[in-house]
Every structure is written in structure tokens, then in C-alpha cells.
Symmetry: C2
Subunit: 226 residues, 2 copies
Amino acid sequence: MSMSELPETEDVNEPQTMAASNGATRARNEREILAAAERVFARHGYRGASVQAIAEAAGLPKSNVLYYMGSKRGLYVRLLERMMARWNALLDDISVDDDPAEVLEAFIRSKMQLSRRHPEGSRLFAAEILGGAPFLQAYLSGELRDWVQARARIFEQWAESGLMDPVDPVWLIFLIWSATQHYADFEAQVLGITGKDELSDADVEEITAFLTRVILKGCGVRSRES
Amino acid sequence: MSMSELPETEDVNEPQTMAASNGATRARNEREILAAAERVFARHGYRGASVQAIAEAAGLPKSNVLYYMGSKRGLYVRLLERMMARWNALLDDISVDDDPAEVLEAFIRSKMQLSRRHPEGSRLFAAEILGGAPFLQAYLSGELRDWVQARARIFEQWAESGLMDPVDPVWLIFLIWSATQHYADFEAQVLGITGKDELSDADVEEITAFLTRVILKGCGVRSRES
DNA sequence: AAACATCCTGACCATTCGGTCAACGCATCG
DNA sequence: CGATGCGTTGACCGAATGGTCAGGATGTTT
């Protein structure tokens, strides 16, 4: 991950004398704090979020949040790492021999579900990038760049095999990212314009189908099996 | 616009005894402050931005910023209104009789240029939506919703005339918005992954062409003239 | 019971927050 | 020369910021 962070002193706990009740409390509180912090950071950004607000959202005193998490900065980095881990699990193994249509649809679908399952984390990530990615710069130009270029090469080979149009694969990946991310990050806009209270599972399925159809057709993807 | 704001006491100036030098100073300072504030608000969000930071970015004392702008809130609202005005000027007059291919390409192109010409304003808008659109809610579910639905109806008529596939027009508008907005909002990600220092005019032209091609083909748009 | 370790939190600290205000600079006009 | 009025800013205010710390609560192990 190699984020630009101060020396972290986390994961030092895990005491040996832990009965069932004790560890359960700690786990529950940590989970509660992480969830609350994700909401607050996503809404207000790193600078705009206050430990006090996170504590109130978690229903705990401020001191308790700092007791568990050490510092605001450490809490934020931990949330980013959790989100990046979810991200990295996506579409981790594809090869030139796979079917382009299947892979692209799976890509769109899994990315869409990631945004849906973790909307706050998705917005947290967006806020970090929007602010110039001060914590994620190394990750973007390192791991993620390799990830993108590996997949870009496969797309290019598909294009050479005539399985899809010769479009720039990096712009294509950005197109899919942006289109899917939009429904989490700009949820307020989507809901305001459509007049809905929330996006139902059926809505998400419809959007996924729409994106798959337009993007696959737009890139001239031909299924291998057909 | 009808934003949820406190009673504004702006535009009260314009004194009659203004020689050339005086009005010029005011205009220059206001411009400087607005530009600096747009950068800072875009990067850190409303809560995370401080008047002190805006003042430093503008090269003025904090008191001077408040003298010109009245309050942090008023400054923020003024920036949002300026950005919405730019937005509203976009694709303001289309009719069923226009050529779908031309209209969609113009839409993509002008939206892309808006993001490029005003990247900070674009990010400011994104941060506002990301935070739940506390100032823009009324605008989103009012003016902007009408704007979208008017254009959606035209797209639908084009689909009925066989000029494009029967895709959901609202999802299509969101697709274009997200794809074009991405290059301003996620600039840090785009630069990190491509390894570029900045996007050149040629890059932007290439991306515009890519998006136009994929989206038009993906929606089965047939040009009227062909 | 005594000892031990973790959990928990109110009080406190220096700093920064948005905003006010009085005072001064400085030009134009009578 | 005043007088008027906008431009400018350092000093200041109460509130909120991230973080520290001492000490009490709680429970498990001897």
C-alpha cells in the first residue's frame, strides 16, 4: 500500500487474556467507530470531519474514539486501506483467453455492486481523490497503475484479435469507473433528479444492464461463444 | 436558484463616486478571492475550508476577505451560483427536429470543455453533491430536474422515430455527466495512473472523441443526414 | 482478597475557527 | 483645509479543534 503516513502504532492490542465478552465489546465498538467515521469523512472530507462528530455518530465519548483509534489521521488511513482492500479484490484474475463480453460485464457489475454495498467508502475514496489524493498518491501511481496497465494490455490484445473495436483501453476503464462510481458519489443528485427516495435493487439492476449494453455495444464487443 | 441561504446583503456597493482606479481594485480583489476560494473549497469541502486558508491563497489578510464577501457561507453560495450559471448555459436549446448525433456530440463536447475550463468549479460542485448537496438540494430537485426531463423526452422521441436505440434517457444523461465530470473531479487519479503531469488539449480532444464514439455507437444513434 | 490489565471518560491544553470592531490610510470633493 | 467614505487590517471574542492524561470502573487471574 505504501501510503504517506506517519509511523503507525496500530494492531498492538490483541491481549492474551481475552474472554469472549471482552473481545466482543472491542470488536463491536471498533466496527461502530469505523462505520461512523466512514460516514462523516465521506460527507465532510478529512479536514472537515471532526473527531467529536464521529464520536457522536458512533454514540461514544470523543476520548473513547481516540482510545481505540489513536488519532484522527490513523483512523482515516485505516478506512482508506479497508476500502482499497475491497477495491483490489475486484476482477483480480482475467486472461486473454477469457470472453471479452463476459469479463466486461462482470467488471461493470462487480464495480457497480461495490459502489452499492459500500456507498460511504466509495464517497470517502472520492473525497480523497477530489482533494488531490494526499494519502493515496503513491498507491495511484504504483499498484493501481500496474493494475490498470495489465488489464489495458489484455483489452488491446482482444482488439487485435477482432473481438472488440480498437478503443483506448485506459479511457475505457475510466469510463466504466466513472459511470459506476457516479451512482454512489452523486447519489444526492441522482435521487433529486429522479425524485426517488433511494435506488432499489431493481433500479441498480436496470442501470447495470443499461451500462453493460451501451458500453459493450459502443466498443463493438463480440462474444467469443456466439 | 432558490438555495437555502440566509438573507444575503450583497451587490449593495457600486458607489457613484468611483474613478477608474477604485473600481478596478475592488474588481481585481474580488476576482482573486473568488478564484482562491474555489480552489480551497474544491479541495477541502465547505467545512474543511478555512477563511484563513482562502485569504492566504488570495494573498490578502483574513479580514479583507470577510470585508469583501461578508461571510464564509455567503462566499460559498456565491461560488455555487456562479458555477450553476455556467452549467445552465449548456445545451440550452435543443428540439426534436435536431440531429441526434450532432446534439449528443455537442453535449459531450461542451460538458467536457466546461470541466476543463473550470476544473476547480467542477470539483467544488462535486464536493457539494458528495456532502449530500445541503445547499443545492432545491436546485437539483427543481430546475435541474426539469432540465433533465425536458431533454429526456426529446431522447425518447428520437428513439420512437428509430433514430436511436430505446435506452433510458435519464441513465444516458447520467452516463455522459459522469464520464465527462470524471476528468476534472478525479484528475489526481487520471494523472497518477497515466503518469502524465497534466492533460493536454490533444488528450482532451482524444478523450472527447473516444466518449462520443463509444456512447453514440452504444446507443445506436443514426445521423439524420446520413 | 489482592493484584493486574484493559476499558472508559471528564477535565484540560494549545491552537484554530468564523466573525466583529475600532482605527488608520488614502483619495476625492467642497 | 476639513469632511466624507471606501479600503485595509491587527487585535480580539467565544466556540470548536485534535490530542493528552490522570484516575476511576470493570473484570479475570492468582
